[in-house]
């Protein structure tokens, strides 16, 4: 029980493109215990969705994934073949996608899609699968669950569809759930309800969860562990308290300055910004990928960037020991 459910070391994802290789994810490490929630936060193109697909073994054939270690409960995922992965997916690890409109099959009923995973992975009959589907729909707060089974996705609202997606992921009581922007397309009120539901169910079933999002509010409220991703690297990891109350990396601090915080940001005042754009990741990336946009950048940012550990479980990568430029370096 002491070894983590998921341990990832030096995960790298390369995508061959016209002009060379896109180094989309470069050497990221994290681990996750049972019952824990890890939030990976980052902007579009930072590689957070690719990371989740890599864990599930769902990357396209041309995309190259390497890792020195990628263990799921003792199973070495780097060596797992398609058959092993198929047996894991939907059973012991499941995924919830962002767009319930496009990730549910419009041609099959809700019931059909809910029961599929259970019938495939477990030795159960249709009646038992049906009963389990109804049980889970009720658990995710859907009323008249029995009658919903014969409905098609287009007959449900966005919030309901996302609940169906969650119920579907939970059918086999997975040990790991990966949710990629599960509430981005929803109203704020529904978002709060769905997140509460996920957190409660996770606790109840002792599930580990990886939540991928760009919404810092969601991260702060849901995460046990936070990983801030920028241009394919984890620039800062730590507990939610560490990352939000004592952010070390200039990128994390910059992101937190960008959002208006009720009660803290003066109404109508200028918000912080991060000027510039993300670097091109095609062809070797050296040094700190954030240096072109960073207000603390110095010449040394072009070289290898050390890993720093300001506190237990809190890590960040920066040439500056405190994440801030010191007086002498500024001269």
């Amino acid at each position: 029980m002491n070894s983590p459910l998921l341990r990832v070391k030096d995960l790298t994802i390369d995508i061959p493109v016209g002009g060379g290789t896109l180094n989309a994810v470069r050497g990221i490490d994290f681990d996750l215990n049972r019952g824990e929630t890890l939030c990976i936060v980052g902007e579009s193109g930072s590689g957070k969705s690719l990371t989740s697909l890599a864990l599930m073994g769902l990357l396209g054939g041309r995309i190259k994934r390497t890792a020195t270690q990628m263990d799921f409960d003792g199973i070495d995922l780097t060596k797992a073949n398609n058959k092993t992965m198929r047996a894991l997916r939907g059973d012991r690890m499941a995924m919830i996608f962002q767009e319930p409109m496009t990730s549910l099959n419009p041609a099959f009923t809700i019931g059909n899609q809910l029961m599929e995973a259970l019938l495939l992975h477990r030795n159960v009959g249709k009646d038992a699968a049906r009963a389990r589907a109804v049980e889970l729909l009720e658990k995710v707060g859907i009323t008249a669950a029995e009658s919903r089974l014969s409905q098609y996705p287009h007959q449900l609202s966005g919030g309901l569809r996302q609940r169906v997606m969650i119920a579907m992921a939970l059918m086999c009581e997975p040990e790991l759930i990966i949710a990629d922007e599960p509430t981005t397309a929803l109203d704020v009120t529904i978002q709060a309800q769905i997140l509460r539901l996920l957190v409660d169910l996770g606790r109840e079933m002792n599930m580990a969860m990886i939540l991928i999002t760009h919404d810092l509010g969601v991260v702060a409220r849901v995460a046990d562990k936070v990983a801030v991703m920028y241009a394919g690297e984890l620039v800062e990891t730590g507990s939610a308290e560490q990352v939000f109350n004592a952010p070390m990396h200039p990128y994390t601090r910059g992101l937190l300055r960008c959002i208006p915080q009720p009660g803290k940001t003066e109404r109508g005042a200028r918000l912080g910004t991060i000027p510039g754009i993300v670097p091109n990741l095609v062809g070797g990336v050296t040094g700190c990928p954030f240096r072109t946009r960073c207000d603390q950048a110095v010449a040394a940012c072009r070289d290898a960037i050390p890993h720093r550990k300001p506190a237990e479980n809190h890590r960040f990568r920066c040439v500056h020991e405190t994440g801030h430029q010191t007086a002498e370096a500024a001269v």
Binding site: E43, S44, G141, I142, T143, S157, G158, G159, D187, V188, T189, I190, Q191, A192, Q193, L195, R196, V199, H214, D215, L216, G217, V218, V219, A220, R221, V222, A223, S239, A240, E241, V243, F244, N245, G254, L255, L256, R257, C258, I259, P260, Q261, P262, G263, T265, R267, G268, R270, L271, G272, T273, I274, P275, I277
Partner: protein
């Protein structure tokens, strides 16, 4: 901060309703859907009205009516005191311009940025090609884009740059009112703050009036001077931004405010106490439309529609605030078991 140089509202809606007729199923009877139900609003020059509510509440229909893309079924919209509908679409377009949510689908991919921004000038026959060219260069400067983007196409630009193009296109007509329909929700956090800063600067510089539609209450609180909360086609509360966010009244407003996830670690996800379902707008609940989801609902909320009660800075439509003044129905304020 907001200028009140004149008391004449620049934009006014008087008892505006919009009813669509929808058929349910192939042989279903057509039924009326009240997308906007007797809405009155007024906006002074330089104000920013934040319009918030869940999807399906009628926010976007309201925006379409203001842009002249839909005609109201009842009521009238006045711009500078003039009823629109009487003025033609072209005149209206000079005064009110939109900025839409998705900068990926609202710019024509086959037109250069110069063509996109200058199109309104060409449609309205303003100036010759030289002065149009000059106007485009000026507006690019204002929205913070380099001159060289004129010859590029939308596909060569990032999301933030595209939204700047959309803003430039809206402002080149020198409108008085800009309807911003979720202008930053498709953008990354670091880009969102740049666009919000830009919108704020432009408002101050050109004394613009914004209708700012958003579901992000933190953004609305930051940018707006007034806020209107919409539920099933009605404005259930309207107030100054301070009045609404500091001392909100309507239970629905409170639920919306509760559901804002501020980035504070360890606080957990709030319980909105809203129940699960947004009601079907074709068959809205009786009495107060909000009563089935309301944690404060009383017995008469199910039967008697609330009337607008004036408050210090706007109005609120809720029986909770109509008690002392003697509700004409005389129903007792008895709490139903919550």
């Amino acid at each position: 901060m907001s200028t009140t140089d004149t008391n004449q509202p620049v934009l006014e809606l008087r008892n505006v309703s919009k009813t669509y007729t929808v058929k349910q199923g192939m042989f279903g009877k057509p039924k009326p859907l009240k997308a906007i139900n007797d809405v009155s609003l007024s906006l002074k020059r330089g104000e920013v009205l934040g319009l918030v509510g869940e999807s399906g509440c009628g926010k976007s229909t309201l925006a379409k009516i203001l842009l002249g893309l839909e005609d109201p079924t009842k009521g009238e919209v006045r711009v500078d005191g003039e009823v629109i509908g009487a003025t033609d679409r072209r005149t209206l377009a000079r005064r009110i311009q939109p900025i839409f949510q998705d900068p990926y689908s609202s710019l024509n991919p086959r037109k250069s940025i110069e063509d996109i921004i200058s199109l309104p000038l060409r449609v309205h026959n303003i100036g010759d090609s030289n002065s149009q060219d000059k106007a485009v260069r000026e507006i690019l400067d204002i929205v913070g884009l380099p001159q060289r983007v004129m010859r590029t196409y939308p596909s060569q630009m990032s999301g933030g740059q595209r939204q700047r193009v959309a803003i430039a296109r809206a402002l080149i007509m020198k409108p008085e009112i800009v309807i911003c329909d979720e202008p930053t929700s498709a953008l990354d956090v670091s880009v969102q703050s740049q666009i919000l800063n830009l919108l704020n600067d432009l408002r101050a510089e050109f004394n613009l009036t914004y209708l700012f539609i958003s579901h992000d209450l933190a953004v609305v609180e930051h940018l707006a001077t007034r806020v209107a909360v919409m539920y099933l086609g009605r404005i259930v509360e309207e107030s100054s931004v301070g009045g609404l966010f500091d001392t909100s009244g309507h239970p629905y407003t409170q639920a919306l405010l509760k559901s804002v996830l501020t980035p504070e670690a360890g606080k957990g996800v709030p319980d909105t106490e809203l129940g699960m379902e947004y009601p079907n707008p074709i068959a809205p609940p009786s009495g107060c439309h909000f009563h089935p989801r309301c944690p404060m609902a009383m017995t008469h909320c199910a039967t008697i529609p609330p009337r607008p009660v004036p408050t210090a800075e706007g109005h609120v439509e809720c029986h909770l605030f109509d008690g002392e003044n003697g509700h004409d129905a005389g129903a007792p304020l008895v709490r139903e078991g919550v």
